[in-house]
Symmetry: C2
Subunit: 489 residues, 2 copies
Amino acid sequence: MTAFDRLIAYQRDTAALAQIAGRLGWDQETMMPRGAAAQRGVEMAAIEAVLHARRSAPEVGEWLADARAPDEVGAAHLREIRRAYDRATKVPGDLARRLAQVTSEAQGIWAAARAGEDVAAFLPVLEDVVALKREEGAALAAGGDVYDAMLQDYEPGASAEQIGAMFDAMRPRLVALRSAILAKPAPKGLSGQFDEAVQMQLAVTLAQAFGYDMARGRLDKAVHPFSSGSGADVRITTRTSPTDPFNCIYSTIHEVGHAAYEQAIRPDFALSALGQGVSMGVHESQSRIYENQIGRSRAFTGWLFGRMKDAFGALGPEDAEAFHAAVNRVHKGYIRTEADEVQYNLHIMLRFDLERALMSGDLQVRDLETAWNDRFAADFGYVVDTPSNGLLQDVHWSVGLFGYFPTYALGNVYAGCLHEAMRAALPDLDARLAEGDTSTATAWLRDHVQQFGGLYEPRQLIEKASGAVPSEEPLLRYLETKFTALYDL
Amino acid sequence: MTAFDRLIAYQRDTAALAQIAGRLGWDQETMMPRGAAAQRGVEMAAIEAVLHARRSAPEVGEWLADARAPDEVGAAHLREIRRAYDRATKVPGDLARRLAQVTSEAQGIWAAARAGEDVAAFLPVLEDVVALKREEGAALAAGGDVYDAMLQDYEPGASAEQIGAMFDAMRPRLVALRSAILAKPAPKGLSGQFDEAVQMQLAVTLAQAFGYDMARGRLDKAVHPFSSGSGADVRITTRTSPTDPFNCIYSTIHEVGHAAYEQAIRPDFALSALGQGVSMGVHESQSRIYENQIGRSRAFTGWLFGRMKDAFGALGPEDAEAFHAAVNRVHKGYIRTEADEVQYNLHIMLRFDLERALMSGDLQVRDLETAWNDRFAADFGYVVDTPSNGLLQDVHWSVGLFGYFPTYALGNVYAGCLHEAMRAALPDLDARLAEGDTSTATAWLRDHVQQFGGLYEPRQLIEKASGAVPSEEPLLRYLETKFTALYDL
């Protein structure tokens, strides 16, 4: 066997073990008895240790040094295996252990602080997390930019400068759009009670309508919806609320976007370094284009309105136009995960700028709450009322996820690029969506994005698929056009 | 750290990874999408390889050579770690791989052969399995008895000679009892349709009545009921049939016996070499005493009759006596898993004698069907009508499980010993059971058997708990007394 062949064979077992860790995560959120949490923590640590040992094994370094890729696909395998090896070997074991321990504690402290609206209780441990993450970033950056190094965990090839330039161009136009919208009267939302079992039936119907293959997946309930797994076993979760069926419907479509991506990857990439979505940003582009550009379009919501009337009877909105307006309602709110298409990106940019400043040292943890609240008031036009609606709302920083937030907005940017190209390629798309037929859209995404898994780097993939260098312009054009019409601006 | 401490720390991760493998097995039978089977096979092989590498790691051998146990518990840890190390290092890797491959194929061939009633299609691959198992047994036995060596995988410390002597003493008395019973008129069974959702509700009620802690477990449906996991996450499955609620009820109680054992083990043994039931025989003693000596007793069935009438209305039997007779009905049948308390052990003895002869070479695979059918006719008094009711009924041999069958009957023998001691210690047991209160019985079993996990070797444990050397006499006395009364012999 050549060094290349050895690497591929070795990676197969590593990928299989990573799938197992993912399956345990799914079990934890859906099936695990509550009394098993502590034991599960030990189990997760044990399999993570196995994965870390495999990724950083000296023989992987030796094989990587000797391996010659036979072709473009082989080169991509080596690129991804090398990335994981470098990641695993650059951070000293002792630092990794301290980070694991502190973030594990910090998550509990964050949850208690949020419940108690007590910022002061959270900041000391956040200081520890920030200090350790800077140390980790320095080890990963090896002299380069610390925040850029962190980004690579979620968005290989991305740079903070490039993302920052995009976001700076988006911010004033989104703030202006938000201001104009909020000056108008808000459309009516849904009203009534919506049977939760019927919502779950509708969720299954929608998942399948968007091409999710239930023979290689399943749909369950969880507190926070997520998609999990790759290849032949990609599971999704959703949630229900008796007064807000849109929560269930759009969570489901969002997760189906993630899951359909994983299910569509070339079967010969299964259990390899290329057998999953290439980055968080590209992943989010799929979930967002399913959820928003397709799922919240006038054409598709026309069809959905009919299905919802069949399922629930009277909803509130009395025709498809009013229903479309309700689906796309923009309203004052503090919580990122509940934000509409316009305000969502403002949430992300706020976090991106603050976490970048925390990592560079330009912002101190003790000044974080003021910085958050000032920025929020400036961009949203209203004032944070309580910490759980502000700085304490997201789990990310407590568990050390720095560099993750920007991929959410990057996903929206990529979705904008793909959507424009897809519309140009599929002139009858709205006619299909109006019949609830998403297949031409999902087929286009499968052919141009999803099938490739980790073969191309993120920006290269989006450029190939959309035929243009990725830019924020298509997303902004889409949002301005859509909401100008909806709100008669 | 001493060598002993290193071993204990290392074993903790090994035990955690073994729990993960068990959880995957549970998922496969309950939740996994059908399209994921092939990928799951790769995942299972990957984690089994990790476990094998850990169990046979050279440093374990070195630590074992140097380790000094600080006390009795420490000595038991070393005993169990050494057993796993010896098992993992004695069988050459190439033989283990061939066995894994052949048994994986053989299981599929067996399933097809059983469906097609085609013994000839199964025998060639069974020959391969038997030949490889003999080779493996010789490696494990290192000059000793091959079948004894195999027994150690399931029943540490057991010998075929000892088990054979027990079974030889049991066989004529059980054959005589069966003959006498089948000469009598059969009592009426249940009649009617039984809502399967109500059966599952009753299963939850019964599981909790028998002390199963749902906060550290869960109950789902599966084709073949099983219990899975140790410590804080012990899950059970059951099944339902619209015409036979006893299937659900007694499968549930049986699996609760296994699960309660795991849940009752001392918490300080969790994720250690002592943190699970000590043998298949002792495990089966718990499931059987829950299911039979308690669950099928006159006292408990009196209470159960009331619960079933409440749940289903008319059942067939009109009073508690008739209900007790229906629960304990002995009838002609071919299938081990459906057999009553009297005939079950005859099934096991048949398999024990045949597989022992296969391993010693006294019986050839080509003569197996004749040997099975002759023995069946001799012991059961009626003739096997079709291979799926005979030689092809069990999966065990196809997957290489030789030495496993006798532990089922050994479990019954141990249950007999424990039951006699428990009755002597708890004079008011029937009064409690008549009220559906199993707590004194389960507490006695927890205190005398379950809490100890792997601390004592099986026979030693049963002797300590029952106060006598394990013997078949208590089981035979119990069966003869019970069925003489039930059938008016």
